[in-house]
């Protein structure tokens, strides 16, 4: 099982290093393609979803800021809103082995069930290759890719950078707002914001 997951990871290493990192994270450019293994062992490639809006969510179940949005049900609600419009939701865990929040496939599957979280795929990026290619800094850190594969949003889930659940109610959910704008053919009005949360626990 482990050896099988290693092969696509190596393939991704090659893909991600082929283009300069800075270019991959600019809004309006084609989002960096990647291949990762999901919690069930399936290989998932980003470019296969071309034609649909895609949300990338960086995740660390031990991070209090992530827990703020899962324990309150805010992230699940955001997922549901996205799903309703046919948006693909990829939750990515770039936590290195031995670091806080690192998950194996079965652990992740159990967690999703426990939290009623329903991403399209829960992707394991323990070497941090995809995280670093996207310059994912925090958990959560959100990216939205439009139907033509271009990056249209990157930043925080909302505009209240705290770990306090009470602050969700009054916050502007940047992801829902951006998806609504995309679906009604508008330009994303807030295309970037400050991501907030714990640092991604990359392998050194």
């Amino acid at each position: 099982m482990r050896n099988l997951t290693l092969i696509p990871t190596l393939a991704v290493t090659a893909v991600a290093l082929a283009s300069p990192l800075a270019a991959a994270q600019k809004n309006g450019t084609i989002a960096q393609d990647f291949k990762l293994t999901d919690a069930t062992g399936k290989t998932v490639q980003l470019s296969k979803f071309r034609g649909k809006n895609i949300v990338l969510e960086w995740h660390n179940p031990g991070c209090p800021f992530v827990r703020k949005h899962y324990d309150s049900g805010n992230m699940q609600a955001t997922q549901a809103a996205a799903r309703k419009k046919g948006t693909i939701w990829l939750t990515i865990n770039s936590g290195a082995k031995g670091k806080q929040g690192h998950m194996t496939g079965p652990e992740a599957t159990a967690l999703l069930k426990e939290q009623s979280s329903k991403p399209t795929h829960y992707l394991l990026d323990m070497k941090g290759v995809v995280g670093k290619a996207y310059s994912a800094k925090t958990t959560p850190h959100m990216y939205i890719i439009n139907k033509s594969g271009k990056l249209v949003y990157q930043g925080g889930i909302d505009d209240k950078p705290t770990a306090n659940k009470a602050h969700i109610a009054g916050a502007r959910n940047h992801v829902i707002a951006a998806l609504n704008e995309l679906n009604s053919g508008k330009k994303v009005s807030v295309a970037s914001s400050r991501p907030y949360g714990c640092s991604v626990k990359y392998a050194r």
């Binding site: 800075a22 031990g62 991070c63 209090p64 194996t104 652990e107 670093k132 400050r194 991501p195 714990c198």
Partner: protein, 707 residues
Amino acid sequence: MKFDSSIANLLLAFLCFALAQPAHAQNKLGATELNVPARLVAESQQVQAGQSVTLAFVMEPKPTWHGYWENPGDAGIGMSFDWDLPAGVTAGKPQFPVPDTLLISGIMNYIYKGDYAVLVNIVVSENTPLGNLPISVKSEWLACTEEICVPEQDELSITLQVVGQDAAVSLNNAFNEYRAALPRPLGSQATFSASNDVFRLSIPLPASVDVESPYFYIKEDGIVDYAAEQKVNRDGDRLIIETTARGDSLEKISGVLKIGHKSGFSLDAAKGDVVMAGTPVGGGGDGNFTGGDDPNNTSLLFLALGGAIVGGLLLNLMPCVFPILSLKAISLAKAGGDETVVRRDALAYTAGVVIVATALGAILLGLRASGAAVGWAFQLQDPRIIFVLLALVTAIAFNLAGMFELPNISMGSKLTEKEGPAGSFWTGALAAFVATPCTGPFMAAALGATIILPPIAALLIFAGLGIGLALPFLLIAFVPAIRKRLPKPGAWLDSFRKIMAIPMFLTAIGLIWLLGRQIGTDALSLTLMFMLGIALLLWWYGAGQLKGAARGLATTGAILIAIVGGIFALPNDEQMTVQQQAVAATETLPSEPFSETRLAELRAANQPVFAYFTADWCITCKANEAAAVQRQETADAFEAGNIAVLMGDWTRPDPVISKFLEKHGRAGVPLYLYYAPGQEPVILPQILTVGTLTDLVNSRAETTDTL
């Protein structure tokens, strides 16, 4: 197995989080299970209505934990404050101390590792009634280790007393330390540019201000790539920082320039054009420094080495070195016939020069590493060393003048005249030691490079300086054509030698001047008495030589006693501080050091007072001083108007001055105040002219007239 350990980690993380939650309820009761516990402390329990009081959030992170600066960097969260204040009471903006960088796997964090204090000014309005003043604040902050983060919060409260205008207000001295850790406002505006992914910031900072791995902490998000390396250049009175840009959406930014441990300046910058210019200084930030294998450093090394060799070569022409060298050169030529002897002597001489230059360099690097702010010729900051050097130079001068001869068998400095390689070695050592005060200005650049090069490379530069100094000798020794061109020794050599005493005496006068600035004229006179004693001893010794009397031993002993006596007669540090103030008094506009007591005395005596506050790193201050304050017209006008001048130097953080500035609504220098007798002080503009200052006297004359 792996499965289990991951679960354990996860559980641990959840546990940490779970523990953090009820902490809020408990720490109000005094429990201390927070990882970065906070205490709310007031500078004084009492406050007068219409005044302000400073509160401190004293944060004490547990080992391995850290808190965040107002801009946390790539991840993390700054601190939030939700005040509950009585009517008429307002809280100012929190002031954070100078932070540190923490780079983990390419993610930059702006943090505090040890204890730190965030200060907030509380202003109490005029009509606040006397009595209790309860202050309460809900604060949230993020506590992290390098592995995990825990949001923490606490409700902190303190009860102050509003007291009458005459009541005593006692101050908590811990606040002096808290304030010293805050960045000080630079006073002059910086300029930044952000285009094509390159961010540049040009900061006005006098070239004389020492900086140690400078780093710019930006307050606004989205402008720079926090994790990118910051290249720092110095170009005259500007410090230029270049790093990777993230965006250019702002016209104004602000931040903190860190220039040393817990030391930095807060500044604002407006958008403009910035080009990279000047010379690089040490790598920015912790852990960003690249070693000697960096190609830039390698070329820097060669450049600096070349500069050092040329500089050393030029040193040969300096008045303090030329006499020794020219005579030595001729003595080498004297041995002209024997090629091997000449070469052996030249190599011994070179060894002496290189070893002393490298040793001085090693001591310099050692002192720097231990934190002392020293430059080349650092040994001349110690009056004892100047005194010994003065004795040595004077003795050499008298020797050249022919007052005495050196015997062939002797010890100490006389080794220089000893025949053979040992004598040549000591001549070289002496030349290198004596030459250091004469380092040319462009040598400074080469030596400056030693600060950012790895120690081995830096020592190579010092050795290069020595090689440059010894180069003429090597040429004379190894190129017979040059040697043949040297004049043949003869009767003229004796006259030449006597003439060479002149530059040596000039060097002695230079050292006397230097010593006088450090120890004052009283101590200098005493020192010169010792010098006279030494001269008389040498004279007596020289007279003995003429008569064939052996007075060597007695003279050596007596001179040693004189030198040791002279060293002990030198003033101590305290007297030297007094002297330095006296030196300050020789400026065009003399001033007294500022103190509130002195100000009150002068005011009580009905004398008008001009008080100014300056710092060596403040370019506006220096410009004003050159253009308006230290001017003869100003000095004359102030003398005519009998205006007392008080000067507050804020180059080093001084709590008395900090508080005084704050009282006048200023966070930093410059501040110019004029106190007319019996009137409220007038704050003068930040850009001064001679007219502004001379008008003070004129307007005073007018008010006197109308009275």
